[in-house]
Symmetry: C2
C-alpha cells in the first residue's frame, strides 16, 4: 500500500484515482480549480468529447461503461456539408460501430463521484501545484482562494494536470529531459446550434457533422439536450482567419459565403463568436515520463495532442488501462511498473500525436474530395472482404486496441498500396464495373 | 535613450552591453554568479573556445579584435590521431585561414571590463533572475547571497542568460510559444594535457587535435600556458560509455586500448576523469524571441546548440552584429528592430543548430576515413580553382559572413554533387592521374 498524490482531478486523474484505490492505495487528489460538481464551469470550450473503444475499455475496467453508454450519443459516421448545400454520409466503420459523444463535465463529475465512494480516496480543491520535488515525491501547492502555501509528502506522485502540467515543468529543469511544445497555425472557437423549441435536434444527431473547407473547417457534435456544440478550426492569421474577422459584418459575410446552411441554425452566432475565447492547439512531447518509483506523468501532462482523431481522452484512459495491467503483473514494484509504463506508452503517444495532425488535413480537406470518397469506398470493401488483412487506419485507431504505433505503421503500408490503386487509369469505371474488385486480392497481398 | 536590463553577463551579454552603451542607452547587467573577474571559476568545463570570422567581426565592431588576437592561438587545421598512431593534418581552409583558441574566462573578463568603462553601464552580481514580466519589461531577481528578492522595471529586457534562460522560461508559459529542448545521447568531460616543464606544448599548438573513434572522440585545444584542454565526447550509456567506466582499472584499460598515445600525455587522467563533471549536450529552439519592444532573447537563451561546429559563441556574437545593424537602420523604433532581429536570426540559428549536429558525425567518424580525406582534397581543389563557384561548407560557416541558412542550402547542393563524384569508378586513380580534374568544371556547373 502506497501513499499516492495525484495532481489534477480531470478525466484521467479521476479515473486513475479509482484504479489506484481498487488496488488498495491511499490516494489524495489535488485540483487547481473549484469542485466541478458544485460549480459547473462551461468556459465555451471543449464541452463534449468522442469516446471510442480505448476509452470504453478503461471504463469497463471500473465497471461504469454501461452507465455512461446510457448518456452517450452514438455517431455512426461523418455527415459532410458541402459548399453547394449537398450533404452526404461516410460511415466511420462497419455496421454497429460508432464513436460516442459524451459531456466532458458530466463524465468528469461521474468519475469524481465514483472515486469518492472509496474510503481511501480524498479530493482537495483550489490547490494549485507550483512544483514537484522529483527526488522525494513532495508536491508544493498554493491555495488559489487563501494564497496559503503547503506541501504534501507521499510515496509517489502522478501528474495528471494536463498540457501545461506543473509536475512536468519541474521535470523539464532536470538534465537530459527531452521536451517540445508545438502549436498549430490554427486555433479554434466554440459556437452553438441550439435545439428546436420542442427540444429535438436541428440536424441528424447520430453523426459528427463536418463542413470541410480546405484550409479550415467547422464541426458539430450532438449533446443530450438537443443542442450541437460546434467548433470552428480556423487559421490565426491570413486572408480568412481569426485575425481577418473583426466586425459583425465581416463575420456574417464570411459565414453566409462559406457556411450558408449553418447561418439559419445559429441564432447566437455573432454573440458566441465575439464572446467565446479563441484557443490554440498544442502538441506536447516529452521523455522520460517517470522518475524511479517517485513521479510519473499521465494523460495530457505526458502527451498533449491535437483533437482531430478524437483520441486525446481515449489515449489518456488507455494509459490507465496499461498502468493497471502493469500493477497486476508487477505487484508493488513501482520502479518496474513505472519504467515499463513509460516504455510501453511513449511510442504509442508519439504515434497518435502524428496521426492526429494528419487527420486534420483529412477532415478539413479530403473528406469533400470526390476521389477521396471513392477511396473510402474501396477501403471499406477491402475491410469487409478481407477483414484479417485490411482494417482501415481509422478503424485500427478507433475501434481496436491495436497499439497506436502499430496502427500507424500498418496505415503507412496501406497508404502505399492505396496510392498505387488510386493512380490506376479509369479507376472509377473499373470500380463500378467490378473489374477492380477482381484485382484487389493481388494488389493488397 | 532606453533603460535596458540585460540578464546574464556571459560573453554575449557583456558584448551586447557594449553595443547598447555605444548607442547611448542606459544598461544594467544582472548576473547570477559572482563577479568572474574577482573569482575565476574553472569548473572543469568549457574553458576554451574557437573564435572564427563571425566572432571576429563582432569584436571588430567594438574595436577589440586586435587586442584579443594577441592572446588567441591560431589553429590552422585538424590534426587527426589515428588508432594505429598515425597523425595527419587537414587544413581548415586556405593558406592564412585559421580558427582561434581563446580562453572563455579571459575573453569574458575583457568584455566586462570594456563594458564597465562606459558610464552608462552598470553590473550587478549574485542576482538570479526568477522570472520576467513580458508585458511591462520587469525582471524579478533573488540575491543568491542574501536571499533578498527584488524587481527591476525598465524599457526593455534582453535575456542573455544561456541555454536554461529564466526569461525564456517565462515566455514558454505564454500562448503559441514554440519550444524544444533536445539532448544528444553523448555527454562530455574535460581532461587535461599539461605543458612541458619548460612551459612548452606537448603537441603541435597550431591545430585542433582530434582522436576520432567512430561513435565517440577526444579533442584537444591549446591554451596560452602550454596546456591543452581536452574534451571526451562519449555516450552516456552502452558498451563504451560513461556508464561503463566506473573504476580506475576500467578507465586505464579503455584509454590504453583506444587512446594509447594520449595516456603518457595525461598524468592526471584518473583524477580528472573521476573528479570533473559529466555534462550533457542540449539543442534549444524556440520562437518568438521577442515580445513587442519589451523583451528579447539573444545568444544561447534563444538558440543553444551543440559545440561541434565551434559556432555557439560566434553565432551569439553575430546576433549582436545584426542587432547593431538594425539599430543603425531603425533608430529608436524598437518594435521594428526586434521584429526584424528575430526574423533575420531565427532561420540562421536553426541552420547552425542542424549543421552542428551533423558536424559531430564528421568529426568523430569521417575524419579518419580514407575516402573522406580524398573528398576533402577534391573540395579544396575545387575551392582553389573555382573560388566563386565552390566554397566548402566548413569555410562558408567559419570563414565567411554568409548567412548560416544559405550556407546550409549551398552545402546540401554540394553534397549531392560530391556524392556523384565519390561514386565514380577508379576515383583515386582518376584523381591521381589528373583525369578527374578535367571533368570537374562540368560536374559542378
Amino acid at each position: 500500500m502506497k501513499n499516492i498524490t495525484i495532481v489534477g482531478s480531470g478525466l484521467v486523474g479521476s479515473l486513475l484515482a479509482i484504479y489506484l484505490a481498487k488496488k488498495g492505495h491511499k490516494v489524495s487528489v489535488y485540483e487547481r480549480r473549484v469542485d466541478l460538481r458544485k460549480n459547473r464551469i462551461s468556459a465555451g470550450k471543449s464541452i463534449n468529447l468522442a469516446l471510442s473503444d480505448r476509452g470504453w475499455k478503461a471504463l469497463e475496467g471500473i465497471g461504469i461503461d454501461e452507465e455512461i453508454r446510457k448518456v452517450a450519443i452514438p455517431m455512426k459516421g461523418r455527415r459532410i456539408h458541402n459548399l453547394n448545400g449537398d450533404v452526404n454520409f461516410q460511415p466511420y466503420g462497419k455496421e454497429g460501430q460508432a464513436i460516442y459523444s459524451v459531456s466532458r463535465g458530466g463524465l468528469n463529475c461521474k468519475l469524481m463521484d465514483l472515486a469518492e465512494h472509496w474510503d481511501n480516496v480524498e479530493f482537495f480543491f483550489e490547490e494549485r501545484c507550483t512544483s514537484v520535488d522529483m527526488e522525494n515525491a513532495t508536491a508544493h501547492f498554493e491555495n488559489t482562494s487563501t494564497g496559503k502555501k503547503s506541501f504534501v509528502e507521499s510515496d509517489l506522485i502522478f501528474g495528471s494536470d494536463g498540457a501545461f502540467s506543473a509536475g512536468r515543468l519541474s521535470m523539464q529543469m532536470t538534465d537530459k529531459f527531452e521536451y517540445s511544445q508545438h502549436y498549430l497555425e490554427h486555433g479554434y472557437k466554440e459556437l452553438l446550434i441550439p435545439a428546436n423549441e420542442d427540444g429535438s435536434f436541428k440536424m441528424d444527431s447520430n453523426a459528427l457533422h463536418i463542413w470541410p473547407r480546405g484550409s479550415y473547417m467547422l464541426i458539430a457534435l450532438p449533446n443530450l439536450d438537443g443542442t450541437f456544440t460546434c467548433t470552428l478550426f480556423f487559421p490565426f492569421e491570413g486572408e480568412n482567419s481569426f485575425a481577418s474577422i473583426n466586425t459583425e459584418a465581416e463575420l456574417m459575410e464570411f459565414f453566409n459565403r462559406i457556411f450558408p446552411d449553418v447561418v439559419p441554425l445559429m441564432p447566437t452566432l455573432v454573440h458566441d463568436y465575439f464572446t467565446n475565447p479563441t484557443s490554440s492547439l498544442v502538441t506536447v512531447k516529452c521523455f522520460p515520463w517517470t522518475n524511479k518509483d517517485k513521479v510519473a506523468l499521465i494523460g495530457d501532462a505526458a502527451h498533449a495532442i491535437v483533437p482531430f482523431f478524437g483520441q486525446g481522452m481515449n489515449c489518456g484512459f488507455e494509459d490507465c488501462t496499461i498502468l493497471n495491467e502493469l500493477m497486476e503483473e508487477n505487484g508493488d514494484d513501482w520502479t518496474k511498473i513505472l519504467k515499463a509504463y513509460e516504455l510501453a506508452r511513449k511510442p504509442n503517444s508519439d504515434a497518435i500525436a502524428e496521426l492526429a495532425i494528419s487527420n486534420f488535413i483529412e477532415m478539413r480537406d479530403l473528406v469533400a474530395d470526390h476521389k477521396f470518397l471513392l477511396r473510402k469506398k474501396i477501403e471499406a470493401y477491402l475491410n469487409e472482404q478481407f477483414p484479417e488483412k485490411w482494417m482501415p487506419l481509422y478503424s485500427m485507431v478507433t475501434f481496436s486496441q491495436i497499439p497506436y504505433s502499430e496502427a500507424m505503421k500498418e496505415g503507412k503500408r496501406q497508404e502505399q498500396i492505396m496510392q498505387k490503386i488510386m493512380a490506376m487509369d479509369n479507376l472509377e469505371e473499373r470500380w463500378n464495373n467490378g473489374d477492380l474488385k477482381s484485382l484487389l486480392p493481388q494488389l493488397i497481398s
